[in-house]
């Protein structure tokens, strides 16, 4: 030991270390690849099964992709915080004085990385399973939409995940709190995706305003999270 005292810790360093840690835990446990991905796939199949109507299906393919993403988001976020709060590690992070904004960004980045992979697979599944067609201008729209929507979802998820983490029995509060808030993302992303898929006669250009909404949403919750995450994870 050579002297005492805290060295200054930058937000970006905290974010990087936290994101690395979360992603490493996921890679180690393979929960997402082995279990959440198949779950999302199953959700898609279940919908199709329950709805049981081809014409309806291809019209709502976009909506189903994002609905499945949403359910998976809940699991992803719960897992992201369960990993921390299991043995008091979230508390350890708080007491270590890590900048909450850094924790927020780090965890959101980790969630985002996992979500993007998931969405890619789901969209692929939709194209194959629900028979949608995709043109090059649609792909550009789709990619932008996925990026904005994912960022928004990850920020909202991390924000509410932090709020509901830690205390017993709060986990199930997460969907209740989160689902209404992400409703705009669901709608926006669905409409944008439908435009990209040109389902129901929508034009690709119709999708861009929705992407704008998604971007605004993501920015709002990024800022909100950075400012308020500290107070949310306090007891």
């Amino acid at each position: 030991m050579s002297g005492l005292g805290a060295r200054p810790i930058s937000i970006s360093r905290v974010a990087r270390v936290i994101a690395t840690k979360d992603l490493r835990i996921e890679l180690r446990s393979r929960v997402v690849t082995n279990q959440v991905f198949p779950f999302a796939g199953l959700v898609m199949v279940m919908f199709a099964f329950a709805l049981d109507n081809d014409a309806v299906l291809s019209r709502v393919a976009g909506g189903l992709v994002w609905l499945a993403t949403l359910f998976s988001l809940i699991i992803l976020v719960q897992r992201s915080f369960a990993v921390d709060s299991a043995d008091g590690a979230l508390e350890a992070q708080r007491v270590a004085g890590l900048d909450p904004a850094g924790i927020f960004i780090g965890k959101a980045i980790a969630v985002m990385a996992q979500l993007v992979v998931l969405e890619m697979l789901l969209l692929l599944a939709a194209v194959v399973l629900y028979r949608v067609e995709l043109h090059i201008s649609g792909v550009v729209l789709l990619v932008t939409c996925v990026i904005c929507a994912t960022a928004g979802l990850a920020f909202v998820g991390t924000l509410y995940g932090g709020l509901t983490a830690g205390a017993r029995g709060r986990e199930t509060l997460l969907p209740l709190l989160m689902l209404p808030v992400v409703a705009p993302v669901l709608i926006g992303a669905t409409r944008a995706t439908e435009s990209a898929f040109t389902s129901g006669g929508a034009a690709v250009s119709d999708g861009w305003p929705w992407v704008g909404v998604l971007a605004v949403f993501a920015v709002v919750f990024a800022i909100g999270g950075i400012l308020s995450f500290g107070s949310l994870i306090e007891e």
Partner: protein
Amino acid sequence: MTSASSTTTQTFTAKVATPTTRLVGAMAIVSMAWVVLGGLFVTPSDVNQGDAVRIMYVHVPTAWVAYLAFIVTAIASACWLLSRKHAMGFDRVAGASAEVGVIFMAMTLLSGGLWGRITWGTYWAWDPRLTTTAFLLVTYIGYLAVRGLGGSLEQRARRSAVIALLAVLEIPLVHFSVLMWRSLHQRASVLSGDGDIKMDGSMLTTLLVGVIGFTCTFAWLVMHRSRVLAMQDAVQSSQLDAALQDRASESAGLK
């Protein structure tokens, strides 16, 4: 330690190929060759479907052999549970058979998808047969995941045996799904139960040879795979010997 492990290796290299597996392998090769020739050149093309009907010689046998594989898994699991000594051989056969079954079921889905693209104009439809087939596949992927959960060999065997016995109940669901709902998919035309087969003679022969060929392939794969699994277990046990010695020397060092 090294001498012990080298002897185990020898014992197992000697066991890798036996006359039985060689025979089954040869039968598989011959009948598969017959299917390829018969399927591509001898049999006529269909009035409605044209040459696409040739996919049938892969599609239908893989589906039936996948069923067979899952039934074998269930029987082996039941044998494991009932056998007094809980012989691990049963468990290995169950595992190997499920692995091969999953591969075959995936081939059914794949070939069905391609066939559907040609005849129905789509890879996939929300048809009961198709959906229940997908569920069956997922169930057995879950079964394999359960096998991978870890724990002792006995625990692995016990847990997966229960899952296998429950999972096999899904097969009738897949088989009868075409009757239970309105369906795009072909109704049972060979295994229809009324004994009235509506198919050209050479097509039927090729199909049956296909079934034999895929069954032989299945048997060959399962035999080899369960031997590999046995070797894995043996390697594990010899690794345990080494680990035990390590710990013993650790304890001697601390004394």
